[in-house]
Symmetry: C2
């Protein structure tokens, strides 16, 4: 036996390897850990997965995760409804929300335009964004996609669609390290970049 060829074990490690950041050695380590868990813990673990998937879905307005119809941000009347911050994903939303003194609305694109990965504009929540701008109540959108090539291109693409609607379009200011991922920006850098946002 040069390989550990237990079918249920291989299946488990294969599944774990599909998770982001998990290589084959980590997958095996996790699999052993899962095998050794007390029965009760294993049940909690699988039911946490099943429950999260069953109960959590996207807010029908902003696309953020919620267990209600409309998320807690969209249903918050204390927010400036005339300002929408457009982000790639929930991680970016949380990073901004954590440091922002402006209580604004959000819109989650669910990714960025990336021809190399086969992500075209129609696969993002861009038409949902345009629909939110229809009633003229929104005065400004902040394009807070990551400062990557794809993030920039997506911001450009959206600004070209939104400007003709008479909505002010701004982009996060310099301050985010170029090529960096918004999720990992430190809070001060991120604060600066919101304060110094500029029209494009």
């Amino acid at each position: 036996m040069s390989e550990y060829n237990l079918a249920p074990f291989s299946t488990l490690t294969e599944q774990l390897r599909r998770l982001p950041g998990i290589g084959s050695k980590s997958a095996a380590r996790l699999a052993y850990f899962i095998l050794e868990m007390p029965e009760k813990d294993a049940e909690k673990f699988t039911s946490a997965i099943t429950n999260a998937r069953k109960l959590i879905h996207r807010c029908k307005i902003c696309g953020n995760y919620t267990d209600k119809d409309v998320c807690s941000i969209c249903s918050d009347n204390g927010r400036d409804k005339s300002l929408i911050c457009v982000v790639e994903d929930t991680q970016s939303l949380l990073a901004i929300e954590k440091i922002s003194s402006i209580k604004m609305m959000y819109h989650i694109l669910n990714g960025v335009i990336s021809p190399i990965n086969g992500i075209t504009p129609d696969m993002l929540r861009i038409k949902e964004l345009l629909a939110r701008l229809g009633d003229g109540k929104v005065k400004e959108i902040i394009l807070a996609t990551n400062a990557t090539i794809e993030g920039e291109a997506t911001a450009m693409y959206i600004s070209k669609l939104v400007k003709p609607l008479g909505v002010k379009v701004t982009r996060l200011a310099c301050g985010i390290p170029v090529g960096g991922d918004l999720e990992y920006a430190d809070e001060i850098t991120l604060s600066y970049s919101i304060e110094g946002r500029h029209e494009i």
Copy 2:
């Protein structure tokens, strides 16, 4: 909302954080990935966990993982039944089995003596090892616990129990970097350490 307080999401990240090597940031990343999985993939994932736990158990002889009563190593008649290699866990067994030219038997202790972690000798599969030595057919055991303080102490403890039975007791040779984990030893180092094993 300064925190993302969706209960099912928090539960999922908490469960993921309990996995070895997963911090809070990784746990959130994994949780998002799990939420975004297609339904079919999520089912495969949870059923891989459930199946592995249902089908895999410990071999009643050596303590290795198996989906049968007796594992493929213990039921292999081409092996030297007079030589048992005693290891901490399956990972160590696999690391040795991969490079060893000697086809021997194994015995998995399922850990090491570690008072600081509350692991006492009776919590390891030591009595099962002694039971295997009862019929006098085993001539030698190789103590292949990790070269850590706990691994050394466990080897000493077992050698004191086994020597009176007239069984030769050997320990992996120098070659494993001291303080190192056997699972991560390179193959040559590990080969040397088996070749140069010495009686203790």
